[in-house]
Assembly symmetry: C2
Homo-oligomer: 179 residues x 2
Amino acid sequence: MSDYKLIGSKSVYNGNVMDFWECDVELPDGKVAKWDLVHHSGGAAALPVDDDGNIILVRQYRLGVDRELLEIPAGKAEPGEDPLETVKREMEEEIGYVAGHIEKMMDFCPAPAYSQENTAVYLATELKKTRVNPDEDEFVTIERYSPDALKDMIRNGEIVDGKTISAVTAYLAIFFSRN
Amino acid sequence: MSDYKLIGSKSVYNGNVMDFWECDVELPDGKVAKWDLVHHSGGAAALPVDDDGNIILVRQYRLGVDRELLEIPAGKAEPGEDPLETVKREMEEEIGYVAGHIEKMMDFCPAPAYSQENTAVYLATELKKTRVNPDEDEFVTIERYSPDALKDMIRNGEIVDGKTISAVTAYLAIFFSRN
């Protein structure tokens, strides 16, 4: 079962935030297939839980669905950047908070069949307000919801972003019950 | 905040299972930015829970991480296909089961910032064995784990696939407690 071999790859398009590659993959039966691959440097996301137990989210336009989505704060890593630094920067830029306590929840690969992206997801608590310092082309609003409200919003399709679904439900299923 | 406008797009590369587009997006401040977009027809995934309460997963090679990953059964929709049909087909092809009960859990957009992909995620129970009928270029092994084991595997990085993390933890946080 580990008999797949990546035997060749070439860049076919250089995009603005990621590149697109065509790969030759040798299958276990010896045939060679051409598979698409998105090159991506990865990123980090935070599930920020305030002192009242509410979760802080950002609402922002997303091209893939051509509408606004409600998501946890997240961003792309700078080249060589530790994801813990990425997530601290994004929390301050997107929601204007620093976390007194931050711990890794999991690694989240959104689409490993065709994308190299890996998002390190952190739980952020003991939040302290600093200021909102958005990136030049980010225009977001900040909203807070209880975990129960978010469960309903996942069920009814108001929340569809993968890393947000994972972070909220993993928090409830794995982390919340520790306390 | 809804002042983003997709004002133009062009295909820049036709891949084997998806296409890559470059889009012009007008930002709220009037500037125009070039954003990358993966065109993708979407798909469906199932969380198959057997009569003992164990979850059935498949282990298969994934190019994005260049190794095998443990994931719930899933697949790409044929053009115009209802995701419920997709998920029934993939369950039979990948794990060799039909479900007596199947219900929608959620829509999961793995990477809405740059991909149009939407995966409809279903809970599949009352499983009946048929046969494994894999696609020509799919070589998978089938494994079963308890929900508690899967929680540990998410925590320790053995499971990193986004739709799998979402389905398992949403099942535990939202669906399991209904019963």
